[in-house]
Structure formats: structure tokens, C-alpha cells
């Protein structure tokens, strides 16, 4: 397939699908490699453009700055592990997958090298989710006196709908958080 046609096809397929295609996988054919190259190129161009990508682009930039800050051993002075590259990629994938009506999180790196994605609209409301080395995502929430924790799975490039609903509910009526 000629490259311009392929690129247009990728754009028409939608950003989430294109982002998924851009990730490394086990495909080995020349065509598969071409698809991945083109998808990566499209994703990079989209993320370079604030107009096209808005808050997601900002969030990915913030994550990149944090990654740079926490890439070394003992970045916290207490013996923390360096940021895990797999965790960083997973966090980036989660950001790209967020629907437009879900606010962007803020980020921190955890002592074990995972990425914490935090939605903290107020002192009494928190939703915090960890992106680590696997697709199983530990998360916890606090809403007033209500609180809990569990594990969700990031499958097919998407967070489970109940997690997205929970994030939206906790962040409801908060204007300080950026929508995707």
C-alpha cells in the first residue's frame, strides 16, 4: 500500500486505534513494520500539536518531565527504584486512551518505580491509580468518609468503564481539572 494512503487510513481509523498500532508488538512482516512506523509517525505528529491533542499533550509533557527527574536510582533520597520504562509506557497509553470527558490526572513516581496517576479535586476526594509493569493496575479512592482499594485491568488499550465512571464521579463539579 502506498504510504500516503496508509497514513490517511490510520488517521481515519481514529487516534486510539492508531496509538495502539504504534506500540511495539510481535508482528514481523514488512507490512506490519510499515504500519507501525506510520502509526508512530502519526501519533508523534498528533502529540506535537496542542491544537489537535490539547490536554493530553500537556499531560504527556508533564509525564516526560517527571520521568526525566526520576530516571536514576535513589531519585527520592530514600532508596527509590528508578522509573520503570514499562510503567512509563503504560501510563502514556492510559493517558492516550482517556475519553474526552475524563479529566487529566497529575503524576508522581512511586518508590518502586511505578507511575501514580492522581485525580485529587479536593482535600477530601482522591482517586489514585498505579501504572506498573503489568496490565493490572492497583488503585484506591477516598471520598469523604467513603474509601476503598482494588485492582483493575488495562485491556485492549482501555480502562474499564467502571473506573472511568468512578474518576468522573470523584472529579465532578471540579473546574480545576483539565478535561481530555
Amino acid at each position: 500500500m502506498p504510504e500516503p494512503v496508509l497514513t490517511i487510513g490510520l488517521l481515519m481509523a481514529g487516534y486510539a486505534a492508531t496509538a495502539a498500532l504504534s506500540r511495539p508488538n510481535s508482528a514481523v512482516s514488512r507490512e506490519a513494520a510499515a504500519v507501525r512506523r506510520n502509526a508512530s509517525s502519526v501519533v508523534e505528529r498528533a502529540e506535537d500539536s496542542f491544537a489537535l491533542f490539547g490536554p493530553k499533550s500537556l499531560a504527556l509533557s508533564e509525564l516526560a518531565i517527571l520521568a526525566s527527574e526520576c530516571r536514576g536510582q535513589d531519585w527520592d533520597g530514600y532508596g527509590a527504584e528508578p522509573l520503570n520504562p514499562s510503567a512509563l509506557m503504560l501510563a502514556q497509553d492510559i493517558i492516550r486512551s482517556l475519553p474526552d470527558d475524563v479529566p487529566m490526572p497529575s503524576f508522581s513516581v512511586e518508590p518502586d518505580g511505578c507511575v501514580s496517576m492522581d485525580w485529587i479535586p479536593s482535600k477530601v476526594r482522591t482517586f489514585t491509580l498505579s501504572a506498573g509493569k503489568t496490565d493490572r493496575l492497583p488503585y484506591a479512592w477516598i471520598e469523604g468518609t467513603d474509601r476503598g482499594h482494588a485492582v483493575a485491568r488495562f485491556m485492549d488499550g482501555q480502562l474499564p468503564p467502571r473506573i472511568l465512571q468512578e474518576i468522573k464521579r470523584i472529579c465532578a463539579n471540579d473546574t480545576s481539572l483539565r478535561a481530555a
Binding site: L66, E69, C70, D74, W75, D76, G77, Y78, G79, A80, E81, S106, F107, S108, V109, E110, P111, D112, G113, C114, S116, D118, I120, S122, K123, V124, T126, T128, S130, G132, T134, R136, L137, P138, Y139, A140, W141, I142, R147, G148, H149, A150, V151
Partner: protein
């Protein structure tokens, strides 16, 4: 029993516990984030310092000495009682002077991710209360009125304890940005 620092071995509920913050990701304008209190993966403990009546300079020096090349950007402070309220415990551990550890974090060896989720919940509960002590005092309940404006001017700190600051604009408590204090 008294420790070399002169503090009692038992960490009292009313003591302030400080966790030095070395990454910009550990806090934002709203306050301290849960990750700041998560335990070290190697020993399962969160290293903290007991914050008494030390002047700012000496406490800052402790952070800089103990954290090596990583200069603290601030400190998150909670009462020891907050740690105990989430079923964790504090154990004094000198040297270095004033050092203690938050211990008793849940493990869940059969499901590491579930254990991590539980630790996140407890860390979030502690982070949520970080600075709360100062907030209630600043609101008049403790009889203390912050009266020292620092640079940048949106910060205001406890007159006798410059580690306890909050944002004037929002009233939100916040860790002290060392670089803005000097």
C-alpha cells in the same frame, strides 16, 4: 528510654512527623500526593523525621545531610496520630538523629497488586491529612495566627515553625518550598 537526640523512644501521638519531598511530582498546589508516603520497596518502611521545635535552618540541614545529593524541596508534615489512625505504626530509629520509620504496611504476598492498592489507600489517607494540623491552627482553633509572609507572597507560614505553610489564595496547606524561603 531516651534516644541520643534526647527524644523519647516512643513516638507520641502529638508529635509532628515530616517526610522530606525531593520530587516535584510528590506535591502540587493542592497539597501532598499519596506517593510521597508510600514505603520503600526494599524494606517496606517509610522513612520520616520527628519534627520538634528545631529552627528551620537546622531541620533543613538534616534533610540535606540525610538525603545526600537530593536536596529536599519541602516537607510534608502530619501528626503521628494520623499514621496510627490508618493502622500503621511509627518506630524511632536513630541514628540519624530524629529519624523514625512508618511500619506495618500491608503486603498481600499472594496478590502484589492488591497489596499495593491497599498501601495506596493508606498513603492517600495520610497525604490527605498532611498539613491539616497547621490548617486548623491557622483557622483559629489552635490560637496561632500565621503572620510571616514569605517569598513568593502567596505563601504564609507558622511564625514559630516555618515548615508549616499554606497558600494564602486557597487556604490549602502545602509543604514548604525551601528554595522560596531563603
Amino acid at each position: 528510654m531516651t534516644l541520643p537526640s534526647g527524644l523519647p523512644e516512643h513516638v507520641g501521638d502529638e508529635e509532628d512527623i515530616a517526610r522530606f519531598l525531593t520530587s516535584s511530582g510528590q506535591y502540587n498546589a493542592s497539597g501532598v500526593k499519596p506517593a510521597a508516603f508510600l514505603p520503600n520497596p526494599h524494606n517496606g518502611e517509610t522513612s520520616v523525621f520527628r519534627h520538634g521545635a528545631q529552627p528551620l535552618e537546622s531541620f533543613q540541614a538534616i534533610g540535606q545531610r540525610e538525603l545526600g545529593a537530593r536536596s529536599p524541596q519541602g516537607a510534608a508534615i502530619v501528626k503521628a496520630s494520623v499514621v496510627r489512625e490508618v493502622d500503621l505504626e511509627l518506630r524511632a530509629g536513630e541514628p540519624p538523629p530524629l529519624h523514625a520509620d512508618i511500619i506495618g504496611w500491608p503486603g498481600q504476598i499472594h496478590d502484589p497488586e492488591l497489596g499495593k492498592a491497599e498501601r495506596k489507600e493508606r498513603a492517600a489517607l495520610i497525604a490527605q491529612r498532611a498539613g491539616e494540623h497547621f490548617g486548623s491552627e491557622a483557622n483559629g482553633h489552635g490560637g496561632v495566627t500565621p503572620n510571616r509572609a514569605v517569598s513568593p507572597p502567596e505563601w504564609e507560614c507558622h511564625p514559630g515553625n516555618l515548615l508549616k505553610c499554606h497558600f494564602l489564595s486557597t487556604g490549602a496547606e502545602s509543604p514548604l518550598p525551601w528554595s522560596n524561603m531563603v
